[in-house]
């Protein structure tokens, strides 16, 4: 751990010793976390390993009982998901958090709409629809999502993959530093999963660090730069997909195999 801290740049998002218990259930038991700039970090762990609690803490949805979170080297304390978001951590929740009856543009800007400058925006609260549509279009075509025909289309008429695309586009639209994706391919077919994986790579290549929570090992091993393995409320290993087989990673995750020596087990 020390060696890497010297050779590598500062993590974008870092956590040390996170603890959280719900009644008698200890969901996080001294969990550590490191996300490096420009990487895709997959987080895997068995059900109940406490990875969602850790992710929720990083996204501001859960307040840890103890431990520290650092964003860009500075200590932060999030009081709500809004808080985390305003500091550059965007989360795409599994339920997507899109309003299906609203249009793509409405959804992209929901909760942070632009108003026209001057009196019309100030006093009459007039939305700057032209600017939002233009930015939405630019943004979607940057991400190669312009197969979506019409940005005034309501979201429920889109396919599952397209919806995921809109949600991801929204997450990385507002100068975010970190995007957390919770099971982005869980509900998708093979072809659509492929597109979403490509999209995730695109986002990474634009310099945004990505946390990917997934149960789909082939997907994890295909696109992750590093894999964070979570077990019993803490990180037990961080491995590179090129240096470990999928079955060994699963064995560590389930406790059937000891984590490799020299790993940050704390």
């Amino acid at each position: 751990m020390m060696a890497r801290a010297v050779t590598n740049p500062e993590p974008v998002l870092k956590a040390r010793g996170l603890v959280k218990s719900f009644g008698r259930v200890v969901a996080m038991d001294g969990a550590d976390f490191d996300l490096m700039p420009g990487e895709i970090l997959a987080v895997i762990g068995d059900n109940g390993a406490g990875k969602s609690t850790m992710i929720s803490a990083l996204a501001g949805a859960v307040r840890p009982d103890a431990g520290e979170i650092f964003l860009g080297g500075e200590k932060v304390a999030f009081h709500s998901p809004m808080d985390a978001r305003s500091q550059g951590i965007e989360t795409v929740f599994q339920g997507l958090a899109l309003a299906p009856a609203l249009t793509i543009v409405d959804n992209l800007f929901l909760g942070r709409e632009y108003r026209v400058p001057g009196l019309r925006g100030g006093l009459f609260r007039l939305l700057d629809r032209a600017r939002m549509r233009e930015e939405a279009r630019k943004h979607l075509s940057d991400l190669g999502l312009m197969t979506i025909q019409n940005i005034d289309q309501v979201v429920e008429t889109l396919s599952g993959g397209q919806r995921q695309g809109v949600a991801v586009a929204r997450a990385c639209a507002f100068g975010s530093k970190v995007v957390i994706l919770d099971e982005p391919t869980a509900a998708l077919g093979v072809k659509e999963s492929r597109k979403v994986l490509d999209l995730i790579r695109d986002v990474r290549d634009r310099g945004i660090a990505i946390v990917l929570i997934s149960h789909n090992m082939p997907h994890v091993f295909e696109i992750a730069d590093r894999v964070h393995i979570h077990r019993l409320g803490r990180r037990v290993a961080v491995v590179r997909p090129s240096e470990m087989t999928m079955s060994d990673a699963v064995a560590i995750m389930t406790g059937a195999m000891e984590p490799p020596a020299g790993q940050p087990a704390d």
Binding site: A99, L102, G111, R115, R125, L127, T157
Partner: protein
Amino acid sequence: MASNDLPQFATHDTRLSRRVINVLHGNPTIIPLFVLVLGLAVFSSVVGQRFFHPFNLSLVLQQVTIIGTVALAQTLIILTAGIDLSVGAIVVLSSVAMGRLAMDHDVPPGLALALGIAVGSGCGALNGFFVTMIRLPPFIVTLGTWSVFNALIQFWSGGETIRQQEIEAAAPILQWTGESLRMGAARLTIGSLLMLLLAGLLWYVLNRTAYGRHIYAVGNDPNAARLSGIGTRKVLFTVYLTAGAICGFAGWLLIGRIGAISPLGGAMTNLDSITAVVIGGTSLFGGRGSIIGTLIGALIVGFFRNGLALAGLDVLWQEFTIGFLIIIAVSFDQWLRRIST
């Protein structure tokens, strides 16, 4: 960009049915508009010239003014996936408040008017409080407050009507909304104009401001709205408050329409307002619908009643037809929601 336009269309589902569905999704007022036009065509062919006579058209507009205004308030509530069963009682309570304050307490008429609208707003705020702070279902809350407000109406009015002449002498401003502007044979009341003005204002708020989009989002998917940083409870509360204020305003229009102030005034207003909203294509499940749809819905109710009456049918057939229209409208909404997922 240009290269993105046509070729990729091929990857989409281009079947006519899917395209029609997409159009209906984007423009939910198409169906009610179609029903209105169809109704007008049928009635004019059955009834003849009389139906399209400017006097008759303006009469229908007068008849739907109160229902239309209350339906505008109801639209806001239903867009948030709520329902307000107390609107009719708020309208009457506000009008009683205006009358009693001006008559019994010598409050200056203009102030009495403002206080009456404030009473309506207070009623709305009470509904909003129970829905957002105590988190009770709107149906239950407004069923309860409907009863409470009705009791207050009886208490404050003593069950008595304030007669037209008394109001005319003491507080003519309360009847101002009933005055009409003559345009040829048509007679447009101030009340009808105010309703249209209010509809325009609400259209602007719903479609051109962030607050309006948030109302849709809260009704469509409260979780998504919350995760997007929208203060869902604040939106809900202000919607109930606004609806109460609009009902108070409708109380003023009611005095203009009937001249007197009766504690038995708007008995039908509750269901009629919901009818207009639903026929106008707004979904009872929230997040879907429009102000224009509601205006069309109110006009459909008005024109069907008027047309059937002119055609010489008994009143019971008006109710019969409106009933079927409601069921058809809701079935259509259900169908549209089902095929979209």
